[in-house]
């Protein structure tokens, strides 16, 4: 009884509106969007891609503090997955637990199919890059990169070849003999990356690798990091608190909050179909809108609102309460009779200038067609869910799942946990 109630609470965020009480329906914790998961799920069923990382109900306690709560997660070979969340959400702890730098209190960790739950870090196969670079300051770039190889007693010639290959890979040609203190932050982080890749690990762990860098360097290195990952095909996990970075670079994102995975999915799933209020607000700004009667309210991003200086049938009149100049776009705060709360809209600054969208002026807004499409999907999903209990009454749980979701993959249905993918 309790869990059912819980799920209901989780799936609905209650907001006030002029016509009474509307609810925003987030996809239930137990289900994914069919339209968005089917293709990927089919892929996983037909390909032989191995699982690189598997976490099964992993818990971590610091004394009484429950740092990681029942983490279930599977990462396939070659995937780039980001752990995204505010500070203190447990994302770094999770990364360090996978690395073996922290012990997990309970649960199972498999790397490349092998159980490593209680093995120390040196018996797990991974490379790691920290926010602070953690380069060995008394060693040159080449010595840093070749550090692991030298310890493996590889032939000198072989080490030299591998080191110069890696130095070229990260774009530091000609800097092999420099010391870390003679390099910029971005260059140091490249050395750290080459050093982590040198022994050819199966898994690359990145702990906020770009956070200590200037904005411009960060953007360049981000793109290079992504390209490098695709080129080497190494499974990669990155911890970040920067949602834009996570959206730009990842194949999938796991959003963490209070030691739990709130949602895991592709960047697009996370952004357009956030499954909880927390995820919706963490990855961007949201408007809660009751749009049409008899249809559920959904999340509307500020850039999904179009603004005009003339009325039409589909447009709602509004007054511009405030403007915030952001360069390429301008964020407008709109007040309209259609909504009880002020509405945020991101409009191209050029349009604002041409159409005189200034504070105090009247304008007409319209929603992007995508919003209606998403809303349609939401309705279908709700109807589908409404039929479920009937079937469940007559059939066992497993067969019910099979008959209702033939097209969806097995792993989704088998698992009773929202975090499993």
């Amino acid at each position: 009884m309790n869990t059912q109630l819980d799920d209901k609470m989780r799936g609905q965020a209650v907001i006030k509106s002029s016509s009474g009480c509307h609810t925003i329906n987030y996809p239930s914790a137990k289900h994914s969007y069919n339209t968005h998961t089917t293709f990927r799920d089919l892929m996983t069923n037909t390909t032989t891609q191995a699982n690189s990382v598997e976490l099964k109900s992993v818990h971590k306690y610091y004394d009484q503090f429950h740092a990681l709560k029942d983490i279930n997660l599977t990462i396939r070979e070659g995937e780039f997955v980001s752990f995204l969340g505010p500070s203190g959400c447990g994302k770094t702890t999770l990364l360090r637990t996978i690395a073996g730098l922290e012990n997990c209190t309970d649960g199972t960790i498999l790397l490349a199919g092998e159980e490593v739950s209680h093995k120390p870090a040196r018996q797990r196969d991974f490379g790691i890059v920290f926010q602070s670079y953690a380069l060995f300051p008394n060693l040159t770039v080449a010595e840093n990169v070749g550090y692991a190889l030298k310890s493996q007693k590889k032939p000198k010639q072989q080490i030299k070849a591998r080191v110069s290959e890696l130095i070229e890979l990260v774009g530091l040609n000609g800097m092999a003999e420099r010391f870390p203190a003679q390099l910029s932050g971005g260059q140091q982080q490249r050395v750290a990356l080459a050093r982590a890749l040198a022994p050819n690990p199966k898994l690359l762990l990145l702990d906020e690798p770009l956070s200590a860098l200037d904005a411009k360097v960060r953007h360049n290195l981000r793109a290079e990091l992504k390209a490098l990952q695709k080129k080497t095909g190494i499974t990669t996990i990155m911890v970040t608190h920067d949602q834009e970075e996570a959206l730009a670079i990842s194949d999938r994102i796991a959003v963490l909050n209070h030691g739990e995975i709130e949602q895991i999915g592709t960047p697009d799933e996370i952004y357009t179909h956030p499954s909880t209020d927390f995820v919706a607000e963490f990855v961007g700004t949201i408007n809660h809108l009751p749009l049409t009667k008899n249809k559920p309210a959904i999340v509307v991003r500020p850039e999904w609102i179009k603004l005009f200086n003339s009325p039409s049938e589909q447009r709602h009149q509004c007054i511009i309460l405030a403007t915030e100049y952001r360069g390429a776009t301008t964020r407008l705060t709109l007040e309209s009779e259609a909504t009880t709360e002020p509405l945020f809209a991101d409009i191209a600054t050029a349009d604002c200038k041409l159409n005189h969208f200034h504070t105090g002026n009247i304008a007409w807004f319209e929603l992007h067609p995508l919003v209606y499409q998403l809303q349609e999907e939401e309705s279908q999903y709700n109807e589908q869910r409404a039929t479920e209990p009937l079937i469940k009454q007559t059939q066992s749980r497993n067969s019910a799942d099979k008959s209702t979701n033939k097209s969806t993959n097995k792993s989704t249905n088998k698992s009773t946990n929202k975090n499993t993918v």
Binding site: Y61, N138, F179
Partner: protein, 573 residues
């Protein structure tokens, strides 16, 4: 807690052995820590335990319970020393702290001309045995002193003499703590105070004093311990003024009453332990005072204030120089006060009792040994505490044991070594009377400062270095040698010279432990002075000072050259 974790039927229960994960590296980690704790047990815990046991036995090793303590407390001649010690501690601490605080304030809050010269002179006493100042004072104000009539108190031999001599010797110890504390104050507070219109006096009482509150408490605790546990000065210039430290020496060396020596030692441990705990408490409180965002205060010019500072620093420096120069002068005078011609007669140590030049050579050997062995041990033990990832409780114990020696007076440590290492049934008793026991006692005696210096250095290194090394599957001890060691070279050098200088000048622990072949220079000073050979004692004290100074200067240039070579990676130059 465990209730919240759902039982997972799929994964096998992990066996205890598997959790320990005893591969080669983990084995080394554990052996490393066990070795450290064993060494500290043998060199500190067991000897102190032996001391405690002996305090409960009579001279024939019969158990007498607390009878010794009863005897002690009912002996007015001995209990009188407790009062004497407390009076000495209180008076000397107040004087030293006031003088050193003013000096530290001049160094950090004024633009006094010649700051580095003043600072250099103020640190001279660190290179001298404490006996030197007492001997020098005798030549100034003693029975045959040049300025005997000028001494404002009845006689130099007594409380006033001890206070003066120990003020000279302990001054730099207080100065180091207070200067550091004043330096760490955030300049932004001074700017705020000035902007809000407070006058300099108000700023002093609302910003400066509260800001270095913990430094003051810490310095007071350290100085009080130094004063009440030093015995060399009280021995030389104390006259009839008995203190606890001289009582231990008299009981053990004079009367061969080891049990009573043990009892007095335990009494002396009480104030030392109290001040130690105060200091520990302060250290914990002080940690968050200065952060990376704080700005160092840079004083502006101010004629009146800087003038006062100059006069004050000059006065202090003149007194310092007077003490050291008189020791040097008296050591060169042929026969004080009848033949004031200068000669090196007093330096012909082989012509007199007290150990001769051999004692001086022994001191150099012992100090060099302490420097090498002690630095290596301190590096490895601090590394064990700070960086070895195993058995956190044991590591905490090692850390605690490394901090405790600062609360154990040298005399007490030396006496406990007699009880422990000289016991016939102790397999380690073969080291008694050798250089090794002198070196071990010195390492333990000066362990705390070295340990804390090294721990601080390790704390400043990024913790990720070990994680990276582990992910690269490089054993931790390889990374220790290739990365951690080179990065902490400045701290290692600092610990090395600290151990050398202190071993050269110390007299307290080793006075009980030297053997026939291992007579030391600092003990020779004591013995020659005791025998009435004051001038040769001054000469030997000067030799200690000169050699400590020479080694310190040589060492500084060596360190400078060594660190210069690493400039490229330290500063990117």
């Amino acid at each position: 807690m465990s209730q919240q974790i759902s039982p997972n039927l799929q994964h096998q229960p992990v066996s205890r052995l598997n959790v320990l994960n005893l591969d080669k590296e983990n084995l080394i980690r554990r052996v490393w820590l066990l070795t450290l704790i064993s060494i500290l047990a043998c060199a500190l815990v067991l000897p102190l335990g032996a001391l405690f046991i002996h305090s409960l036995q009579d001279s024939d090793k019969n158990w007498v319970g607390f009878q010794n303590f009863v005897n002690y407390l009912t002996n007015p001649a001995l209990t009188h020393s407790i009062g004497n010690t407390l009076v000495l501690g209180a008076v000397a601490t107040v004087i030293i702290i006031s003088l050193a605080f003013t000096f530290a304030w001049c160094m950090t809050r004024t633009q006094v001309v010649g700051k580095s010269v003043f600072k250099g002179i103020a640190y001279i006493p660190l290179l001298t045995p404490s006996l030197l100042s007492a001997i020098s004072l005798i030549y100034w104000f003693g029975n045959q002193g040049v300025l005997k009539e000028w001494w404002p108190f009845e006689s130099i031999y007594g409380l006033s003499g001890i206070v003066f001599a120990i003020s000279f010797w302990a001054f730099p110890h207080a100065l180091i703590i207070l200067t550091t504390s004043l330096k760490q104050q955030d300049a932004r507070l001074y700017e705020a105070s000035e902007v809000l219109g407070a006058n300099p006096w108000r700023t002093f009482f609302t910003v400066t004093l509260p800001g270095c509150k913990y430094g003051l408490i810490s310095a007071t605790a350290v100085i009080f311990t130094l004063v009440v546990t030093d015995f060399g000065i009280a021995k030389v210039i104390g006259g009839q003024y008995n203190v606890l430290a001289t009582d231990i020496y008299k009981q053990v060396i004079g009367q061969q009453n080891f049990s009573m020596g043990a009892v007095v030692s335990i009494v002396l441990l009480v104030p030392a332990l109290i001040t130690f705990m105060v200091d520990q408490w302060v250290q914990r409180k002080q940690q968050s005072m200065f952060d990376s965002k704080s700005i160092v205060f840079k004083p502006q010019k101010d004629k009146l204030r800087d003038g006062f500072g100059f006069v004050y620093c000059s006065l202090i420096s003149m007194v310092m120089l007077a003490v050291i120069l008189m020791a040097g002068y008296s050591s060169l005078v042929t026969f004080w006060p009848y033949d004031l011609s200068l000669s090196l007669n007093n330096y012909q140590f082989d012509m007199m009792d007290g150990g001769g030049w051999g004692a001086f050579a022994n001191s150099l050997i012992m100090s060099a040994g302490t420097m090498v062995i002690g630095t290596a041990f301190i590096f490895l033990s601090a590394y064990g505490c700070q960086k070895i990832d195993a058995w956190p409780k044991l590591r905490k114990a090692i850390h605690m044991l490394s901090v405790i020696p600062s609360a154990v007076p040298g005399l007490v440590l030396g006496l406990s070594y007699i009880f422990f290492f000289n016991a016939p049934n102790n397999p380690l008793n073969s080291i008694y009377g050798t250089f090794l026991i002198l070196i071990i006692s010195s390492v333990i005696h000066f362990l705390t400062v070295g340990h804390l210096t090294m721990v601080t250095a390790f704390k400043q290194l990024p913790g990720e270095i070990e994680s990276v090394s582990e992910s690269l599957k490089v054993p931790f001890y390889v990374t220790m040698g290739r990365v951690t060691l080179p990065m902490t070279v400045p701290a290692i050098l600092e610990v090395g010279i600290y151990l050398f200088v202190n071993s050269m000048t110390t007299v307290s622990a080793v006075v009980f432990l030297y053997g026939v072949d291992t007579m030391l220079a600092s003990v020779a000073v004591l013995n020659m002075d005791d025998a009435g050979d004051t001038a040769p004692a001054a000469a030997m004290a000067m030799m200690i000072f000169i050699s400590a100074l020479a080694v310190k200067l040589l060492y500084s240039s060596f360190s400078y050259l060594l660190l210069k070579r690493t400039d490229k990676w330290r500063h990117g130059r």
